[in-house]
Amino acid sequence: MAVVALDGVVKEFTVARRAGRFRRERSVVRAVDEVSLSIEAGEMVGYIGPNGAGKSTTVKLCTGVLVPTAGRVAVVGADPTRSRTDVVRRIGVVFGQRTQLWWDLPLRDSFDLLRHVYGVHADRHRTNVDAFVDLLDLAGFLDTPVRQLSLGQRMRGELAAALLHDPEILFLDEPTIGLDVVSKEAVRSFLVALNRERGMTVLLTTHDLVDVERLCTRLLIIDHGRLLEDTTVAGIKQRYGGERVLVVDLEEPHPPLEVPGAHVVRTDGPRQWLRFSPDRTAADVLARVAAQAPVRDISVEETPIEDIVRRIYEEGPR
């Protein structure tokens, strides 16, 4: 059974804009535009899109914070619009930019308070706290007030806090935003373990495509409220990633090279990046480059997923 099922979900907001001194113009914005999707138990799904694409709004619709303008939302088999408290009891939510913890109290106190908020049995709670303290390496700062934690420590605390009541799905809204490389990696390995060992279903929104490549089996791309792609990471690379990039280091700086079937996407001093289509070989492109200017070194790059995604935002899906 699907853990999350959205069926033709629309969310419209009315925004007022000042037009003249007193007059306000109202217009309706579709933040989410007829989105249908379903997530099965055990899946780890990346939900990506530029700022304002509708990612956070979708998460708010799934978690019962917002009510859809049209369409149906079902999470853990219930309607978060009608039975908000039933649904929130069975889901975990982390908003990367907002804390769920008690700011001035030790991290341990937040865990204890959440036990009462969710009505978790004391034994179960102790087992869970011990497990997550271990997995997320929280022992060193359990008694530190949350406001004194580093962002990375706090995010690990947030993850534990969202999981203590044994949710069936975890919603993460930009869980790695602002984290340093080490903290990002700690969060990622924890999520991988959580999914692999406990079968936790995860939906995460992110701007960091390394998150997606590292964590997600499936990728949802949204822009202007519309779901553009619902595919696997491998599938999207295959479909859009046919183009590769030849990086050439020339003997000396040269104006952008003119090569049929390839075009320069970037230059940096004597180095130039040429994107070429799948029907050309790297050797062919290199031969044509070498005919124009002496080459010192070369390398071939697969199209990074970031470029693919940027092109989907800019040009739309194929």
Binding site: K11, F13, T14, T57, K60, T63, G64, V65, L66, V67, T69, T81, R82, S83, R84, T85, D86, V88, R89, V93, F95, R98, Q100, W102, W103, D104, L105, D109, L113, H116, V117, Y118, G119, P145
Partner: protein
């Protein structure tokens, strides 16, 4: 259909327990800033003492107001004041709903299996407000001891009933006026006109207000039920404008009706927030 925003599966006993813990967490949080916590408490006690002195001077000078002796007016003041102060402790936090909506932190309340109002009341609990109960409490005690009340059982019962109902009435006014924030976001001033303004009204016999305003306070914002009718009942005073003294017996019913209305409006406001997201 049961409204999910009102009842968690904790049951009301469980919710009360969670409320107690959340209030405890808030007090411990404030205690992290010890100096300011202590200073606020001390200043509250000083203000309460000063208020008492002012009241003593005031009642010492006035003999009678619209046929009420100074002590009888003190009874009126005490009943309204205690109810207001207790409501201030538990319900005035509702007026911070607008700020949470603006800051985007209201969502957090919706992500937890508890009523948002309960979380707001507990999360913004301010222990120092409890100090404001002292002054009207002392006035009430003095007035109850000093006025000539024929203590029949129904009059004895009237005191806690009036205080409880009054607290509910003030609390609902706070919740009702704060609900407007879900539509307009900026309403604290609007609400204060009713809450703090209402508190001042109850401290005077409503005869001085004139018939139009009097009808308004009796029926539109039934603040008269908070102090005036109960006090008149305790003192066995006939209402100069002809309301039967049994009007005081309606006090719990009026507060219950208001509470139901406030609950409906608040739920509606939260529903509005969830559908507009602003």
């Amino acid at each position: 259909m049961a409204d999910p925003d009102r009842t968690g599966s904790h049951g009301w006993r469980g919710e009360l327990g969670v409320y107690r813990r959340l209030v405890g967490a808030r007090i411990r949080s404030d205690w992290q800033y010890r100096a300011s916590f202590v200073l606020l408490l001390v200043s509250q006690v000083l203000v309460a003492g000063l208020d008492l002195a002012v009241i003593a001077v005031l009642f010492g000078r006035v003999d009678a107001l619209a046929g009420w002796t100074a002590l009888e007016v003190a009874l009126l003041y005490g009943l309204g004041g205690v109810a207001f102060a207790v409501a201030d402790v538990f319900a005035s936090q509702a007026e911070l709903a607008g700020r949470h909506i603006k800051a985007g932190t209201f969502d957090r309340f919706l992500l937890r299996p508890l009523s948002p109002l309960l979380q707001l009341s507990a999360g913004e609990f301010a222990l120092r407000r409890a100090g404001r109960v002292v002054q009207p409490g002392v006035v009430l005690a003095v007035a109850l001891a000093g006025t000539d009340i024929d203590w029949t059982p129904d009059r004895v019962a009237m005191v806690p009933v009036a205080l409880a109902s009054g607290t509910v009435v003030f609390g609902t006014v706070w919740v009702l006026t704060s609900s407007v924030a879900f539509w307009t976001v900026e309403t604290q001033e609007f609400g204060n006109a009713f809450t703090y303004g209402g508190n001042h009204l109850t401290q005077y016999p409503i005869d001085v207000l004139g018939p139009w305003l009097r009808r308004l306070v009796t029926f539109v914002v039934p603040l008269a039920f908070v102090a005036y009718f109960p006090a008149a009942y305790l003192l066995d005073k006939p209402d100069p404008l002809g309301a039967p003294s049994e009007a005081a017996l309606l006090t719990p019913a009026v507060s219950l009706a208001l509470a139901l209305a406030a609950r409906a409006v608040w739920s509606n406001a939260v529903r509005h927030y969830r559908s507009t997201g602003s």
